[in-house]
């Protein structure tokens, strides 16, 4: 039992931190200014704890805890590390954001920690009820965060949209759970896997339907085509740091459980691969078409997030039992997270009071007055576009190797065509920042954490790319 708790140590740290922040906020003992470092400390502590549990060597991989409800693997460990890092950097960049935007409360940081709890659980969940509960822990906190700026109509619209559709998704997920339970009398992934191994995927219609509903729920959460329509408005309505957090940590958590679920049985994976194949293609190209037409950065980044979901789906199509395909997913998630967090940190820092700078036009001439910020944004954009030697390039590189290795040459080539298309909107911002004259002086409140966050992330963009992954 102690062993089980030890495996969940990072989760407990984040959970305790969330409660602590909430209580301090309730008693008014903590200023907003100080809440950010506290939250950062919580995430840093959990990160270190996660690293330590991974390296003590006492536990064999694929350790199950709590009677198989949760499974801690190297895969879930690394996913948790990414999520904790996302929480850390979001707390960091939120501080500079709330210097300009006055709707911040200490509860904000508490909610980030709570949603991170849900995400951490999600990476480990190997049982449908657990997965549902962690999904809801995560989602409820995120709903609140999206609508945190109560006076903003856009935020209200966003939260309504997300809440409604998210509730549907939750319903789909429970429906799927119920059907699967009806079919196999168990909600454990492992039981579903053994059932399919003996009976085949199409033996019981209830199981087929259940799996279908659950995969729909996952596809909705990662904003894959055709369930991507919400993402543009929701990302646009949420405040900058929250959007960054959603785009990175949430996607990591969902992809972790998605990969876990799809891998429970080869039959399941093979049956779903043809559909995921088309979904991946449509997601990439649909996302690109949407992104090309956008005029504000948040909407463009939301659509580019859809495109990246497409890339990750390629990795998911190519996933197999060897270590390589799993680490490809994690590496690309980390690479995407570091560049996306970076650009949202930069936007949080530069957007100004009431998010007044949001469009491509608004960032014209940034390089003249703020050369370092512009350089950082350029690095993040180049990473998202997949230009070497950035992390984004290596992420895409591994995805394509993994796809070709799995015989999915068409997907690999289409992935590359899609990244040619995506050059257009990434370059557009770089061109605006560098090759046009400034219309304003880009004054912002002084902040140490904002620029520091950008610096660390910009360095990480290169550091991650030189970190070789294991096969």
């Amino acid at each position: 039992m102690t062993r089980d708790f030890f495996l969940l140590l990072p989760l407990f740290i984040v959970g305790a931190g969330a409660i602590l922040l909430m209580l301090r906020a309730a008693f008014g003992k903590l200023t907003l200014e100080a809440a950010s470092p506290v939250s950062m400390c919580v995430f840093a502590l959990a990160f270190v704890a996660q690293l330590l549990t991974g390296t003590t060597g006492h536990f064999v991989p694929y350790e199950s805890a709590f009677n198989g409800m949760l499974v801690v693997t190297d895969f879930s460990r690394v996913a948790a590390l990414i999520i904790l890092a996302c929480g850390f950097f979001t707390s960091m960049s939120s501080q500079s954001y709330f210097k300009e935007n006055s709707f911040g409360l200490v509860e904000y940081y508490s909610l980030i920690a709570f949603s991170a709890c849900g995400m951490l659980l999600l990476t480990m969940a190997q049982e449908l009820i657990t997965a549902f509960i962690s999904l809801e822990i995560m989602s409820l906190a995120i709903y609140t965060l999206v609508g945190f700026n109560r006076k903003n109509v856009g935020a209200a619209e966003a939260v309504l949209k997300y809440l409604m559709l998210g509730a549907f998704t939750g319903a789909f997920f429970t429906m799927g759970t119920a059907l699967i339970y009806g079919g196999i009398q168990s909600t454990k992934f492992a039981a579903l896997g053994t059932y399919m191994a003996t009976e085949g995927l199409f033996h019981t219609p209830a199981v087929v339907g259940g799996v279908f509903f659950i995969i729909i729920a996952f596809l909705f959460k990662v904003a894959a085509f055709p369930f991507h329509a919400w993402v543009i408005d929701v990302y646009d309505g949420a405040s900058m740091p929250v959007t960054g957090f959603m785009a990175t940590a949430l996607k990591t958590a969902i992809f972790a459980i998605f990969a876990n679920f799809i891998m429970i049985n080869p039959a399941l994976k093979n049956q779903w691969v043809p559909y995921l194949f088309y979904i991946a293609i449509l997601t990439m190209f649909g996302g690109n078409l949407i992104a090309i037409g956008q005029n504000t950065l948040k909407r463009m980044l939301a659509a580019s997030g859809v495109v990246h979901t497409g890339y990750l789906l390629i990795a998911l199509v190519a996933v197999s039992t060897d270590h390589f395909s799993g680490s490809v997913i994690l590496f690309s998630l980390a690479a995407y997270a570091v560049s996306t967090l970076g650009i949202f940190a930069a936007l949080s820092y530069l957007t100004g009071n009431g998010e007044k700078r949001t469009s491509f036009e608004d960032f014209k001439g940034l390089a003249k007055s703020r050369p370092y910020s512009a350089a950082a944004i350029t690095i993040f954009l180049l990473s998202m576009a997949g230009i070497p030697p950035t992390a984004g390039f290596m992420g895409k590189f591994y995805i394509i190797v993994s796809a070709i290795n799995a015989g999915q040459v068409t997907l690999a080539v289409l992935g590359i065509v899609s990244s040619i298309l995506s050059m257009w909107y990434y370059l557009r911002l770089i061109v605006n920042m560098y090759f046009h004259d400034a219309k304003e002086s880009f004054e912002t409140e002084k902040s140490i954490l904002g620029p520091a966050c950008m610096l660390i992330l910009a360095v990480s963009v290169f550091a991650i790319s030189f970190y070789p992954i294991a096969i």
Binding site: L382, P388, F397, V401, V409, I420, V431, P468
Partner: protein, 505 residues
């Protein structure tokens, strides 16, 4: 130092450029740093050149494991082919800092980065490493055109960037295809270029990979009909960037065809060589004719450069030792002559504030030394005997006639177009009556003369006594040719068989 000479030539300028970008430095300081670093690279290059013994294989090899699990290594090396492309860059770069004295800090910093990245692409012995440098060398050019270019800079920047990135991303897919094929044929992962030739590739996959590689390089060179980005980019780019693009970067495209396509895709290359050779000739004629019609001398030089790239490309598609040696020789000859011409065009534009040929005239009487140097570079570019351009073009035409008489004759006769536009332009700009823009045209200063003199001497020495240079090129060229000669023979016997059958009928 000597065992890491290539790494130093690559990373010294890159590090210096990045540091210049990071820290506030005055314009003159940046220029001085740029000059000192590029001279240091030149000294390293000369050391490399003298230490190079020219047996034909890779020399000065550096090898370091990088991503072990995927067989990606940090491998550098030079042979007789890459040596000359590398040296062309090393010799020419210091000139830029001497000629352009009043540019912003970013201008000099980007030049340093592009110098290092190009050296990296030339020396890389691993496909992934090559790809990384290949992409990185575009970024400084992107910023140089966009920040310091002419009026249509934004459109030109986007055009060149999207064009080249589209090409290189497809090449990335082909590189990965090679890696995966290697994995399936030999069991282990590798992207080492030296090992790629051992693979047996066939079928649609190999053909597509060949097309992807050729497309990336054809855009960079550029080969007709992928040249449409060139006139805009060359004209709108600041002179130093045009110089870099035409003198070195285009050559890396040619070099890459020799280094990657010929050994790896022997059968495909042999099959499509004639088609590609015709594309080279069409490019020569088409861009040459376009050059005649230009009113802007920089744009004229851009088309002239594209036209000459056509003949260099033709040289590698002829698949014999003469033409290949000629191509490599012509790479250096063209880099020195056209590179200098673009630098002179920059000087001309800065001092007369115009790029229109009709606004200029009579410069020869105002600036005789400038006119003399310009004439030497121009004559080398049109291939006058006694200049470096003659040797290269002669060898290429010789090889082309050997390869295919029609191609050879077309290429040989279309050289005359080059003479037309060059001499006509020279006549209008340097002779005739002085016009307003060329009044009081300042001649080259003593420092500039000293800077350009070595290049002019190289042009003439290479034209009169080519032997020492050819001696270093030929062994490596032979190795490259031998890798495809078997395919050529197979193709020839097929053609002969068909001929026999026709005769029998």
């Amino acid at each position: 130092m000597l065992e890491h000479i290539l790494s130093s030539m690559i990373f010294l300028p890159i590090a210096a450029g990045l540091l210049l970008l990071l820290f506030p430095v005055a314009k003159n300081g940046a220029r001085a740093v740029g000059f000192v670093v590029s001279v240091a690279v030149l000294i390293l290059g000369l050391k490399l050149y003298t230490g190079f013994n020219g047996a034909g294989g890779m020399e000065f090899v550096e090898r370091q494991t990088w991503v072990q699990s995927l067989g990606i290594n940090y491998i550098l090396g030079v042979d007789g082919i890459s040596l000359f492309v590398l040296m062309a860059g090393a010799v020419l770069f210091p000139l830029i800092y001497l000629v352009f004295s009043t540019k912003p800090k970013g201008y000099y910093a980007n030049l340093l980065i592009v110098e290092g990245a190009m050296a990296g692409a030339i020396c890389a012995g691993d496909l992934i490493l090559f790809y990384i440098f290949w992409e990185v060398m575009l970024l400084p050019i992107f910023f140089m055109i966009g920040l310091y270019g002419g009026e249509g800079k934004v459109a030109a920047t986007i055009k060149i960037t999207i064009y080249t990135i589209a090409g290189s991303l497809l090449m990335l897919a082909a590189i990965l295809y090679l890696g995966v094929s290697y994995h399936s044929q030999f069991g282990g992962w590798s992207f080492d270029i030296a090992k790629m030739g051992a693979m047996k590739l066939h079928g649609t996959g190999a053909l597509l990979a060949f097309v992807a590689f050729m497309l990336a390089f054809a855009i960079k060179i550029p080969i007709f009909p992928f040249h449409t980005w060139l006139p805009d980019a060359y004209t709108e780019a600041p002179s130093a960037a045009t110089f870099v693009l035409s003198a070195i970067m285009a050559k890396i495209g040619v070099y890459a065809v020799i280094r990657f396509v010929i050994p790896i895709f022997g059968p495909e290359f042999t099959r499509y060589a004639l088609l590609l050779a015709y594309l080279g000739v069409i490019g020569m004629i088409y861009c040459g004719l376009a050059a005649i019609a230009q009113k802007d001398f920089k744009r004229m030089l851009a088309f002239s450069s594209a036209s000459h790239m056509g003949i260099i490309a033709l040289g590698i598609f002829c698949m014999n030792i003469q033409a290949l040696t000629g191509s490599i020789y012509q790479i250096v000859a063209h880099a020195t002559s056209t590179g200098v011409l673009f630098l002179f065009a920059g000087v001309l534009e800065e001092r007369s504030h115009t790029r229109k040929i009709e606004d200029l005239g009579g410069i020869a009487s105002q600036a005789p030394v400038f006119a003399l140097f310009f004439a030497v570079a121009m004559l080398a570019s049109v291939g006058l005997p006694g200049t470096s351009g003659f040797i290269g073009e002669f060898l290429i035409i010789l090889g082309a006639i050997k390869f295919n008489v029609v191609v050879g004759i077309l290429a040989g006769t279309s050289l005359i177009i080059g003479v037309c536009y060059m001499l006509w332009m020279f006549q209008r700009v340097f002779f005739e009556k002085s016009k307003k823009a060329s009044f009081k045209f300042k001649d080259l200063s003593g420092a500039e003369v000293a800077a350009f003199l070595p290049i002019v001497v190289i042009i003439i020495v290479m034209g009169i006594y080519p032997q020492p240079f050819l001696k270093k090129i030929e062994p490596a060229a032979k190795i490259q040719i031998s890798s495809i000669s078997q395919h050529v023979q197979v193709a020839e016997t097929i053609v002969l068989d068909k001929g026999h059958k026709l005769e029998q009928k």
